[in-house]
Amino acid sequence: MNIWDWEFAWRIMPLLLDAVVITVYATVLGFAFAAVFGLVLALMRRSHRPWISLPTVAFVEFVRSTPLLVQIYFLYFVLPEFGVLMPAIVAGILGLGLHFSTYCSEVYRAGLDGVPRGQWEAAVSLNMSRYRTYRDIVIPQAIPPVVPALGNYLVGMIKETPLLSSIAVVEVMQQAKIIGSETFRYIEPITLVGAFFLVVSLVAMMGIRRTEAWLRQKVLGSH
């Protein structure tokens, strides 16, 4: 007996739920940043001006080939040496956002490449500017097909948030570790953390499916 203590599990639940809020908060803000900045990166990468596109390629490749943990440490422990100080949660969100923006930019790139050339040609024949063509013609058609791929990265990001515990953000994993070290019981907190991530990921995936269906309906007007 006593492998699983229900009473203990209930007792730590409020603490863990408070920490889940931090996890969700970091994910939502981090992903919002990644989704927007990723699109900016994808557009910069497609620029005809090499002084814009080349540094973008370098940045994307660099960030994608270095570990998120190193990047988070860099933001939180190294930048202060240069006078750039930020709270742990901000460094964490920024780290998640920057890291995943590079993956999102590759997803957007595929979406932008998938818009037929004829759409660009039609826009030229109407004398539309590049900016207007991207804004009104290309981007609205590029995004709906890539929503599922973006969703995979959202779920991926949710699962990377425990890395924030390394800079002492009290997200759900950090909270579980604290409980464990204080009570010497790890079964309940760690199991519950797993269960929370499962629920949050499933909810996110459902949200993505709905968004995709809604966007398809809105953009393509299909019945």
């Binding site: 037929p116 004829g118 040609e121 039609a122 109407l126 004398n127 058609q141 393509l220 007007g221």
Partner: protein, 275 residues
């Protein structure tokens, strides 16, 4: 052969009537290569204001490339294209012609519109949305003005009742008529038609051709029409240019060239097409 010379003389004469005004379109020794392939070979072509020129010829003869160069979808390797005397792919700087920048191209290009073989409507917008997009954001019309004009044009192409439909809900012929309305909404002086009926089912060709005829009746627009519809070319165009291997092989008044071609290559082509 003599006849051909007479024909082109007649054409030049027509252009010379407005000697003070330059041709609406001029190709001056324009060459376009794709890799080693020469698609247009030092092409010269003048089109008078309001003239309707049909361009015919075998595939790969450079017909579509001609239109795509004029629409600035391609850039010539050599030569200059003029729109009413103003260079399009080049611009004057310090008394010399240098490759045009985006701003110059956009200003001159404003006068040209194009209709494509595969329509290229914007699938995420309604028929009306397609027609008002550029007038609002390029010409700077108010939404209300653009809608009024857009509805008039949809009326003209017979599709005002389809104004809220998406392209995917329209037939090919209807889509192409929306595309024509979209192009007209920019009030171009020059319209380019690139095989606009080639992707259509045979029974839908007629509605598109009669729409083009109607534009010819109601608007003063210079038209360059790449087509395989010889009957339409004969009755609608002022002049027909037969392209072969990147050059104008023969040209002349539509009826004469199509009924009595002089060049053996034109004869062979027309025989093959008309059967």
């Amino acid at each position: 052969m003599l006849k051909t010379i007479e024909n082109s003389a007649a054409v030049t004469q027509a252009a010379d009537q407005n000697q003070s005004t330059p041709p609406m379109v001029r190709f001056d020794k324009v060459t376009k290569r794709f890799g080693d392939l020469v698609v247009l070979n030092a092409l010269d072509l003048d089109v008078a204001p309001n003239e309707r020129v049909a361009i015919i010829g075998p595939s790969g003869s450079g017909k579509s490339t001609l239109l795509r160069l004029l629409m600035t979808l391609e850039t010539p390797n050599e030569g200059v294209i003029y729109v009413e005397g103003e260079p399009l792919n080049m611009m004057p700087r310090n008394g010399k012609l240098v490759p045009a920048d985006e701003r110059h191209i956009r200003r001159v290009r404003q006068r040209i519109g194009m209709v494509f073989q595969h329509f290229h409507l914007f699938p995420h917008m309604s028929a009306l949305g397609n027609v008002i997009e550029a007038p609002i954001h390029v010409l700077g019309l108010s939404r209300q003005e653009a809608v009024t004009r857009g509805e008039e044009l949809l009326e003209m192409v017979g599709l005002v009742d389809k104004r809220d439909q998406r392209p995917s809900q329209l037939s090919g012929g209807q889509q192409q008529r929306v595309a024509i309305a979209r192009s007209l909404a920019m009030r171009p002086d020059i319209m380019l038609f690139d095989e606009v009926t080639s992707a259509l089912d045979p029974e839908l060709v007629g509605e598109v051709l009669s729409t083009i005829r109607r534009i010819g009746e109601e608007h003063n627009i210079t038209m360059l029409i790449v087509t395989h519809e010889m009957g339409f070319a004969k009755e609608f165009a002022d002049r027909v240019c037969f392209f072969d291997e990147g050059k104008i092989c023969e040209q002349g008044p539509a009826k004469e060239l199509l009924t009595n071609p002089q060049n053996p290559r034109t004869q062979r082509f027309l025989q093959a097409v008309l059967g």
